[in-house]
Amino acid sequence: MAIRRKLFAGLAVVLSGMLSFAVQASADLNMRPGVTETSVEAYDLHMAVIWVMTIIAVVVFGLMFYSIFAHRKSKNPTPATFSHSTTVEIIWTAIPIIILIGLSIPAVKLLVKMESWDKVEPDLEIQVTGHQWKWEYKYLDHDISFFSNLKTPREQIDNLEGKVGETKGENYLLEVDNELVLPANKNVIFHLTSKDVIHSWWVPEIAVKKDAIPGFINSTWTNVPKEGTYRGQCTELCGKDHGFMPVVVKVVSESEFAAYIEKKKAEKVAAEKAAAEAAARSWDMEQLMTLGKETYEAKCAACHMVNGEGMPPTFPALKGSKVATGPVEGHIDIVVNGKAGTAMAAYGAQLSDAEIAAIITYERNAWGNETGDKVQPADIQAFKAGN
């Protein structure tokens, strides 16, 4: 029996260890209530079920442990002989039904509220498009759209900056280059879709999780009363970098939001002008290669890898590829128009002509693809015009 006592002691140590650990980490132990009306209600419902379940557990397991203690052979050498009781069985069928009805009433109410996006008066509509592996946001009322890419540097992910943890920032994997900016206290409707596979857009703090499905549009809504930055992630497995496409929403005051929209509009005009200028002039090899490398590593390396070797056969190598060393036309075509039904997206509208020209030049001259070809922004313009 000594061994049993030791085991119990061991178990006690482990359990108390877990418990003290749990208390220490209690901030991260539970769902956060979040900041919207619906997220708080979801949290309340979550807590309500937890308590109901805990009470049931205490009663059922309590009886069971009592029985384990009191009805062991050493204490109770002759077993009872009863083997059913209609009354008891009816009671313990009825009680759970009542409890479940009690739980389902608030659940139904909240569900109806969360799903009634078409009954709220919209102040702002956003189209959210999932791509492998980034989100695209479009302000439907303002003709502004942009991509939101993971900002965490590769070195942190690959643990290249010294010891693990030391260099990982607070928002490791939950930071992006362009956040989605929303005004506080406004009804925002989201329309979600996808360009490739199914993704799912989740921000825990506002309790919005909805799938982005290719070829379909799913809608949902929120109204965030509190300014702040809220972080979430894609929650539907969407391929290799599913873990690396965070969602960041920044909620600002109404006036800040107006200023933000103005700024974005101005940026758009400036970018168009700069692109036109860039396209008009002729670039030398070095300029093309520098911009090309930079843009390639940001936009293309997730699939084709930094060394151009890809991950065949899923993502083809560009190093020595027929397209990247063959006729320029074909190379421009696949980058501008993509290839339907594959992970290769159309970059014609995502990148400027100068960037596309630079990437293509880079691909045709890097990794031993010494074609010597120089592609100018004007070539891209001409291709698009003739397309």
Partner: protein, 517 residues
């Protein structure tokens, strides 16, 4: 004469004996359990710390996918069929399964199916990487070339399961000993018959799903491609129409095991036999109308969401009845706690914890927060590991003397139990917290705020992996040098296999049917 059997490799290749086939199923499942477990170790090693340490994201996805597929189709399902083969004929007083040749075939398909599936790890482009749920279009348009091998593999294991199920049904309905009426059958037999009906209903649906995938991939159809008029969400409906009953296929036989073991060690009849049968049947029926609770975020109409939410919550009622019946069986019994009983009690407690999180997940508006996070991973591991796996483990300890004529070492069994019990909770309980804190499932890297719980889970996982190796050691030791078992090692055990047969059970049993009164 009774114990004559062929020897050597031919015995195993050509055998039509339910005991041989049962053993092969069990060993096969044990091997798959370790292969799938090794993959879980890769996953947990990568998740031990934030950052990418050991594997690339794409390989990580292959590991989660193969781990899930192998555990579900290779470890749990065959283990249940193995138990059915060994036990059903003995428990109903039949000489063998009704269709012995088909029995041989349904087993021998499996090694080929899984060789096919596992070989995809070595193919160009790697193994399937789209999760065990293989949602389109990630698995169709975007799937690696090895997806076709996966499809063929699924077809093969589906055929095997259907044949196994047919065999159980035919056996039970035609070969019961005189006097063994339906309502006298042991609960293990009952739960298996119901499971067999589930299998026959849903495995063809799975076959349909993978066939549609195949034609979408290669023959120009677009069942799941919106560009051709199809719908990727339809894939999910079809998959989960199979998938939800599938989870009951994995757990119902374990319910049956618990309903045999708890009365034996409480030395008291099972409480509420009839309500146990009806509860099992209602769970099975309800399992056909709850599938879309896995899909609350896909954008179903509100009415659909309400229906699936309510239907799912309803399943808690018959499940509760079962748990209460087990507790009532223990009540005022005269209990001892040998290893099978310990595993059976742990099964009841931990499965019930999985049931609690199941009710939470059923509530659609809150499920929006839980869905596809580690909370779900915690939930289904509570019902699968301490559920299905502990159920099988309890069965192995309980019937090992019947199968081998040898008794396992009780002290080692207890060590195995406590070791697994602590490790399983250390592994899977923290996953509730990382899920609630916001960690999505199927990711190879995570923010620092999830680090503590992941580290804890990984430590638990390594301990759990080792505990299962210890189990293997115990089983082998018992077979090779275990003490000879008495004919009835458990004084509280009832049923034909204990009352009418010695330990070990001879190669051929019940050539003349026993009389049941």
């Amino acid at each position: 004469m009774a114990d004559h059997h062929p020897t050597g490799i031919k015995r195993w290749l050509f055998t039509t004996n339910h005991k041989d086939i049962g053993s092969m199923y069990l060993w096969f499942s044990f091997i798959m359990f370790f292969i799938g477990g090794a993959m879980a170790m890769v996953i947990r090693a990568e998740l031990y710390q934030p950052g990418l340490q050991f594997v690339e994201p794409n390989f990580f996805n292959q590991m989660t996918t193969m781990h899930g597929l192998i555990m579900v189709f290779g470890a749990v399902m065959p283990s249940m069929v193995g138990l059915a083969n060994w036990l059903i004929p003995m428990q109903i007083g039949a000489p063998d399964m009704a269709l012995p040749r088909m029995n041989n075939w349904s087993f021998w398909i499996l090694p080929f199916a899984f060789t096919l599936l596992l070989s995809s790890l070595f193919m160009e482009g790697g193994a399937p990487n789209f999760g065990w749920t293989f949602y389109a279009p990630l698995s169709t348009t975007y799937g690696p070339p090895s997806t076709d091998f996966f499809i063929l593999g699924v077809h093969m294991m589906g055929i095997s399961s259907i044949m196994g199920a047919i065999n159980v049904i035919v056996t039970v309905f035609n070969m019961r000993a005189p006097g063994m009426t339906l309502m006298k059958m042991p609960l293990f037999v009952w739960t298996w018959v119901i499971t067999a009906f589930l299998l026959i209903m849903v495995m063809p649906v799975l076959a349909g799903a993978v066939t549609m995938m195949l034609t979408d991939r290669h023959f120009g159809t677009s069942f799941f491609d919106a560009a051709g008029g199809g719908d990727p969400v339809m894939f999910q409906h079809i998959f989960w129409f199979f998938g939800h009953p599938e989870v009951y296929i994995m757990i119902l036989p374990a319910f049956g095991v618990a309903s045999e073991i708890i009365p034996a060690f409480a030395r008291k009849k099972l409480f509420g036999y009839a309500s146990m049968v009806y509860a099992t049947a209602s769970i099975a029926l309800l399992s056909f109308i709850v599938w879309a609770h896995h899909m609350f975020t896909v954008g179903m109409p509100l009415a659909g969401e309400l229906f699936f939410m309510i239907a799912t919550m309803l399943i808690a009622v018959p499940t509760g009845v079962k748990v209460f019946n087990w507790v009532a069986t223990m009540w005022k019994g005269s209990m001892t706690f040998e290893t099978p009983m310990l595993f059976a009690i742990a099964f009841v407690i931990l499965f019930t914890i999985g049931g609690f999180s199941g009710v939470m997940l059923a509530m659609a508006p809150v499920d929006f927060q839980y869905h596809d996070t580690y909370f779900v991973v915690a939930h289904f591991h509570y019902v699968l590991f301490p559920g299905a796996i502990f159920g099988t483990t309890a069965a192995v300890y309980y019937w090992l003397p019947k199968w081998t004529g040898k008794m396992y070492n009780e002290k080692m069994g207890k060590i195995h139990f406590w070791w697994s019990m602590i490790a399983v909770n250390l592994t899977f309980f923290p996953m509730h917290f990382s899920g609630l804190a916001g960690m999505p499932r199927r990711i190879p890297d995570y923010n620092m705020m999830f680090a503590d719980f992941n580290q804890l889970a990984s430590i638990g996982a390594f301990a759990l992996g080792l505990s299962q190796l210890f189990f293997l050691f115990i089983v082998i030791k018992t077979i090779r040098s275990g003490k000879k078992s008495e004919d009835k090692p458990w004084d509280g055990a009832t049923g034909l296999e204990w009352d009418k047969l010695p330990c070990p059970a001879p190669y051929h049993t019940f050539d003349t049917p026993p009389k049941v009164d």
